[in-house]
Symmetry: C2
C-alpha cells in the first residue's frame, strides 16, 4: 500500500472547508489552505494552488458542495438556480481540463436525481457524491497505474512532463501511478522530469513527490528532452492529460506535443494516462479543445527576483497544447489500454459505463 | 548601417583591458566589465558574462594578447612557452564552441609567424591579429546576414533559439543578422524567441537586443516551439552554432536539436548560421564534439529567490546538444549557403581559404 505523506485535496473533518496543499509554495513550503467561499476555491484553481485535471475535478466537486451547503434557499427551484450559478462560476476558472466540467455535471445530476428530497437531504447527497468522486479517483488512478505498469519493465528509463502524480489527483496520480506501483515492486525505474516552464510543475512538484517516495528522479529542462532521448536513456514517455478528444488528440500541459514528436522520432513509446473522466467524446478532435491562455508575467516575472525579459515584452503563454493522435502510442485508462486508431477504442470504453456523469 | 547602442566585446582605448558587457546582468542592468588578468577573462567566459561562439573567440584573442602584453620574458622561446601556457588555460574555459580554439590557434600562428621579431613587435602583432579577428567577425557576420536574408521573405514569422545576435558576436550576430538586415529594409519579420533554459539567453538577451532595434519579437518558453509551429506562425527557424562537424552535425545551445526535429515535422526550414570559424572539419560527426556539462544549480537555483526543486535533487545540465545533419535544411556561412549532403559543400568552403587559422 503506497504511503503518501500529504493530502493534495480533501474535505476537512467537519465538512466545512476544502483543504488543499498550496502547490505554488512547493517544494519550499508544505502549507495547507482551508477554503470555504466559492471565490477562494475559484482562485485556488485559477492560481494553480490546486491543479491537475483529476484534482481540479475533485476540488470543484467539494467546492460546489461547500457553496450549496451555505445556501439558505427553501425550494428546490431556488436551490437549483443557485447551484447553476455556482456551477457556472466555478466552471469559468480554467477552460481546458474537462474533468472540471465532468465533476460539475456529475454534481448537477446528483441535484436533479434528488429533486424530490428536502434541501437538507440534497445537500447530504452532494456531500456523498463529492466524496464518491474523490474515492473513485483513488481507485481509478490505481487501476490506471496497474494498466500502465503492464507496458513497462524493471530498470526502464522514463520521461514525464509536468506533474500527473499524487499532487494532480486524489492519490497515485495518472502518469506517475505506474511508477509508484513499480516502485513498490522494486522496479527501480530511472525517471527524468521535464521542469515544465513556465510554472515549473516538473521541477517543483514531480521531483518533489517522486523524491519523497524514494524514486530515482533526475530533473532536466524542457529543452533537454531531445538529448536524453538521443542518449538512449528513455524507454518510454508517460504523461497525463487534461482532455482527450474522440479521435485521440490530447490536450495536456504546454510542451507535451513537442515531447511526443521527439519520442516518435527517436522510436520511443509515448503513453497518455488518464481516467475516463478526461475523455471528452463531445470534442471530435483537438481543434475543438479550448486552450487556456495565461499572463505573460508567468514567463518572465513569476519566481524571479528581477524581470527576466525587457519591460513590456510581448509574450505568448498557452497553458496547454494538443498532441496529435498520430504521435500517441497508447492511451491508458482505468478500463484498459486503447491503441490507434483511437476513436473506436475510446467509444468502446464508454459502453456500459456507469461512472460517467453526463 | 545598423546602429547598435552597446559593445559586446572590445579592447579598451589604451589596449589595457578587455571590455565586455556583462550578459549575466541583462536585461536589468547594462554594466561593463574591464578585465585585465587571464583569470578574470577565463571566469567571464566560463560564467557566460561573455558568450556566443564568435564573441568567445574574440574575447579569447584579446585575452591572450592582454596576457602576453604583460609578459616580462626576453627570449622568443620563453615568450612562446608562456603563450602556450595561457593558451591552454583560456582553452579550458569552455569545451564546445570551436571558435575559442580557432581564435587561440590563430593567435599562436601569429606568434610563430613573427618569431624572428623582437618581443615588443610580437606583442604588437598579437594586438593587430586580435583586432583583425574582431573586424573580420563584423564583416563575416554581415555577409552571413546577407546570405541568410536571401532565404527569407518580408512578413515572415521566424523562430530563434538562444542568442546568436550582436551579443554573441562583434556585431550583427549570426542567426539574427538576416533579421537586422531585413529590419533595415522594412521586412517586418515577426520573431519568436525561445527563452532558452536554464540560462535564459533568449528571454534576457535575444528579446532585449531585438527590442532595442525595434524588431517585433515575442517571448515564448522552449516548450512552446511546437505550438507556435502548429499555429503556422513560423516560416523559418534561424539558429547559430557552436561547432559544425564535417558531416553537418551541429552543436548549438541545448534544445536546438529538439527545435530542428519539430521544424522538420511541421515542414518548416531549419537554418544554421555561422562563420567558417565555427566549422570544424576535424570533427567528423557530432559524436566527436564534446558537450559541456554545467552545474545543476543553474536549473533549480540560478535566478530564483528560492530553490525550485527539492534539496539535493539529481540534475542533468548539458549546455549544448547536437542537431543531426538530416534535420538541417541549410548551413549559411559568409562564403555561401551549403545544402545537404553537407560534407562536400563544407569542404568546398575551405578551398582557397586564407581566413582559417589552422
Amino acid at each position: 500500500m503506497l504511503e503518501i505523506g500529504f493530502d493534495t485535496v480533501r474535505l476537512d473533518d467537519d465538512n466545512s472547508a476544502l483543504v488543499i496543499l498550496d502547490q505554488t509554495l512547493l517544494p519550499n513550503n508544505t502549507e495547507y489552505l482551508h477554503l470555504k467561499s466559492k471565490e477562494d476555491i475559484w482562485n485556488a484553481i485559477y492560481k494553480l494552488q490546486v491543479r491537475g485535471a483529476p484534482a481540479i475535478g475533485i476540488a470543484a466537486a467539494y467546492g460546489i458542495y461547500l457553496g450549496m451547503k451555505q445556501s439558505y434557499t427553501l425550494t428546490y427551484e431556488a436551490f437549483y438556480d443557485e447551484f447553476l450559478e455556482i456551477k457556472e462560476y466555478l466552471a469559468s476558472s480554467r477552460p481546458t481540463a474537462v474533468n472540471l466540467f465532468w465533476a460539475l455535471n456529475r454534481m448537477e445530476n446528483c441535484v436533479k436525481n434528488n429533486k424530490d428530497k428536502e434541501i437538507g437531504k440534497i445537500k447530504k447527497a452532494l456531500l456523498d457524491e463529492s466524496n464518491t468522486i474523490f474515492q473513485e479517483d483513488v481507485a481509478v488512478c490505481k487501476k490506471i497505474g496497474e494498466n500502465g505498469l503492464s507496458l513497462l519493465k524493471p530498470q526502464m528509463g522514463l520521461l514525464t512532463h509536468c506533474n500527473a502524480g499524487t499532487l494532480a489527483t486524489g492519490k497515485y496520480g495518472t502518469a506517475l501511478a505506474p511508477i509508484y506501483l513499480g516502485q513498490e515492486k522494486g522496479y527501480d525505474f530511472k525517471v527524468f522530469a521535464d521542469e515544465t516552464r513556465p510554472l515549473l510543475q516538473g521541477a517543483r512538484l514531480t521531483t518533489w513527490e517522486l523524491n519523497e517516495a524514494g524514486v530515482d528522479v533526475t530533473l532536466i529542462c524542457d529543452n533537454m528532452a531531445s538529448i536524453v532521448m538521443k542518449n538512449e536513456w528513455i524507454d518510454a514517455v508517460l504523461v497525463g492529460c487534461d482532455r482527450v478528444a474522440a479521435n485521440g488528440d490530447t490536450a495536456n500541459k504546454i510542451g507535451t506535443s513537442g515531447v511526443a514528436i521527439l519520442a516518435k522520432r527517436y522510436g520511443i513509446p509515448f503513453y497518455v494516462l488518464g481516467p475516463l473522466s478526461t475523455i471528452d467524446l463531445a470534442s471530435k478532435t483537438g481543434k475543438d479543445i479550448q486552450i487556456e491562455q495565461r499572463p505573460g508575467e508567468e514567463i518572465y516575472k513569476a519566481w524571479y527576483q528581477k524581470s527576466m525579459a525587457p519591460e513590456g515584452i510581448k509574450t505568448y503563454n498557452p497553458a496547454f497544447d494538443v498532441t496529435d493522435a498520430q504521435d500517441i502510442t497508447a492511451i491508458v485508462t482505468e478500463k484498459g489500454i486503447v491503441y490507434p486508431p483511437f476513436r473506436e477504442g475510446l467509444y468502446k470504453l464508454f459502453e456500459n459505463k456507469s461512472l460517467r456523469g453526463d
